[in-house]
């Protein structure tokens, strides 16, 4: 039996932690994307 099956509470906690990490990664990716679009717009408007 896997450790997570033996302890469903811990399994739930691990899942929540994983989801939280995924949310933060998604936030970072979206922020980076917005910054990238902003920088591209600045360079393109400057004739780059």
């Amino acid at each position: 039996m896997k450790p997570d099956q033996a302890n469903p509470v811990r399994s739930g906690e691990a899942l929540r932690q994983r989801q939280r990490a995924k949310n933060w990664a998604m936030f970072a990716a979206l922020a980076a994307f917005a910054l990238l679009v902003y920088l591209i717009a600045i360079v393109r408007m400057g004739g780059g």
Partner: protein, 294 residues
């Protein structure tokens, strides 16, 4: 996070990015540094997206082969649907950003590379024909053409020469791996050339491709893209590649094939590194090596 990074096949990505970067550097027109960085980022993300979609589609055979059974999907660390969504979002994002930041020709080539890798190689050819990586190898040959198009907005003889270089390099590179992994591919039902035609026929094909590659690797030199440093190195590296293929042909064990696989990676990295060194603006005081060649 590590699982998603693994989905993007970072080792494959490094070669893809490097060849795209080299073409961007040697192109006669240089975009704004930020836009050049964005172009490289888009090539990297598109490569990762293709890798993720490939892992989604190949999850059944990946689970069977020892080399791939530890990947995130077969191990249950990433849900297949999530991997597919991840790949599609990255693919669309990379193409759109490339189009907006650089030009739509580069974006079109980037989209073609992704579509070719997913639909032509992964879904159509890989499980059907031993010529899978010969034709499918075109997908991996796109990056220099994309880098060149990102910088110049055109497809030219120079970028086609770089495309052909990688296109001809791919079969001996992959077949070297397939020779010592033939058992895995057979188990998974993938008709790689050593499985279908046997080791001897594969080794002869590898030698033919390395001989055909030799003049193609010199193309950047006689097209005037680089100087004598690249030309001399291409002769030396190409000669060693042919020698490696001859050794594989005469070796009944896997030893030479393993060495040739490692050498093939070094060969392509070295060629593109020399392309940059011999052409990078200002690096050799206006290309003094070109003067030596003249």
């Amino acid at each position: 996070m590590g699982d998603y990074l693994q989905l993007m096949k970072p080792r494959v990505m490094s070669l893809v990015v490097f060849s795209g970067f080299a073409a961007l550097v040697v192109a006669p027109v240089q975009p704004h540094p930020l836009l050049a960085a964005v172009a490289i980022l888009c090539i990297a993300i598109a490569s990762g997206a293709s890798g993720a979609i490939n892992m989604w589609y190949d999850r059944d055979i990946d689970a069977v082969m020892p080399r791939t059974c530890k990947r995130p999907i077969p191990e249950g660390r990433v849900d297949p649907a999530e991997a597919l969504a991840f790949g599609i979002v990255l693919a669309i994002g990379s193409v759109v950003i490339m189009g907006v930041a650089l030009n739509w020709l580069a974006a079109g080539l980037l989209a073609s590379a992704i579509l070719f890798y997913v639909f032509v190689y992964t879904i159509w050819l890989k499980r059907r024909t031993p010529q899978n990586i010969v034709i499918g190898g075109a997908a991996g040959a796109f990056p220099p053409m994309i880098g060149w198009a990102a910088a110049t907005g055109t497809v030219s003889v120079e970028s086609i020469a770089l495309f052909l270089l990688i296109f001809m390099w791919t079969p001996p590179h992959f077949w070297a791996l397939a020779l010592y992994r033939a058992g895995d591919y057979e188990k998974a039902g993938v008709p790689m050339l050593p499985v279908v035609a046997g080791p001897r026929a594969t080794k002869i094909q590898m030698l033919i491709y390395t001989v055909l590659l030799f003049p193609l690797a010199l193309a950047p030199w006689y097209l005037g893209m680089t100087g004598a440093l690249y030309g001399a190195a291409a002769v030396l590296l190409g000669g060693l590649f042919i020698l490696a293929a001859v050794r594989v042909l005469n070796d009944e064990t896997d030893r030479s094939a393993r060495k040739m696989f490692a050498y093939s990676l070094f060969y392509l990295f070295a060629l593109f590194a020399l392309l940059i060194l011999d052409r990078a603006p200002g690096l050799f005081a206006g290309g003094f090596l070109a003067g030596v060649a003249a």
